[in-house]
């Protein structure tokens, strides 16, 4: 088998990022449901946004939209996700 191109490596890593993000987000979702813990909800959605949603947005927009729009869209998803994670940190304070 020929050595993979960097594009193939990038695609493989993107899929891996997608899957790992999904697993972590699902664990957080279970934690939210079982323990009625709102911080976990925001943490899960935030992690899902920076991994899964960002990867999907990149893939879909690179096919459907103008190339220059791909980066802003996926970065928006990532920034929004980080905001949600920060909110989860704020919510998790004990007082």
């Amino acid at each position: 088998m020929a050595t993979p191109t960097t594009l193939q490596i990038t695609e493989f890593l993107t899929v891996l990022q997608l899957l790992l993000g999904l697993v972590i987000a699902i664990l957080a979702a279970y934690g939210y449901r079982r323990n009625a813990s709102r911080p976990m909800l925001f943490l899960g959605v935030g992690i899902a946004m920076i991994t899964f949603v960002s990867a999907v947005t990149t893939a879909v927009s690179s096919v459907l939209l103008n190339v220059s729009l791909v980066a802003p869209l996926s970065m928006t998803a990532e920034v929004f996700g980080m905001g949600l994670i920060l909110y989860a940190v704020i919510l998790a304070r004990r007082t």
């Binding site: 664990l27 279970y30 939210y32 813990s37 976990m40 943490l43 940190v89 998790a92 004990r94």
Partner: protein
């Protein structure tokens, strides 16, 4: 009199200290690897060997109940349980043996940071369903699945921040 009962029922620490959280994190990671490698040996006893009478008697016993609630937050060794729940060690061991036989509690061998292998007891009971079918009592013990345990540990980790 009432104070005694309250003390026994709430012998689980609700807000863990910082040191406890660090230990919990280390334990969680080591248990993750242990479970993935040794998963067959870490499954607990099934409640089939245990007649319903014994399970009801255990749930009726306030010592067994306080042990269950204490071990539901984090796995604990028997000496820790006896100091925290203020029960004699023999009482703790007797109850733990009965609880383990009925599958309500599971013993996990987790290496301490100091290197000793201690047996830590962990409540396996998530939900107990009692069904009356044609005059026979059927008990269905639902243990938390591994995914649910990870989710709970994740929540503890995050909420401890």
């Amino acid at each position: 009199m009432e104070d005694e009962n309250v003390q026994l029922h709430t012998c689980a620490r609700i807000h863990p200290t910082r040191a406890t959280l660090d230990r919990q994190a280390i334990r969680w990671v080591s248990e993750l690897s242990i479970r993935f490698i040794y998963s067959p040996s870490v499954t607990g006893a099934v409640a089939e060997d245990c007649p319903p009478d014994e399970v009801f008697a255990l749930l009726d016993d306030e010592y067994a109940r306080s042990l269950l609630s204490a071990t539901s937050h984090e796995p604990m060794t028997a000496p820790e349980l006896s100091t925290q729940c203020e029960m004699s060690k023999s009482t703790v061991y007797r109850r733990l043996n009965k609880l383990e036989a009925c599958g309500l509690v599971r013993a996990v061998h987790v290496p301490d940071p100091d290197g000793n292998h201690r047996k830590r007891y962990e409540a396996q009971l998530d939900e107990l369903v009692v069904r009356l079918n044609d005059g026979d009592f059927e008990l269905n013990l639902q243990t938390t699945t591994r995914t649910q345990e990870f989710a709970d540990a994740f929540t503890d980790l995050w909420e401890g921040l």
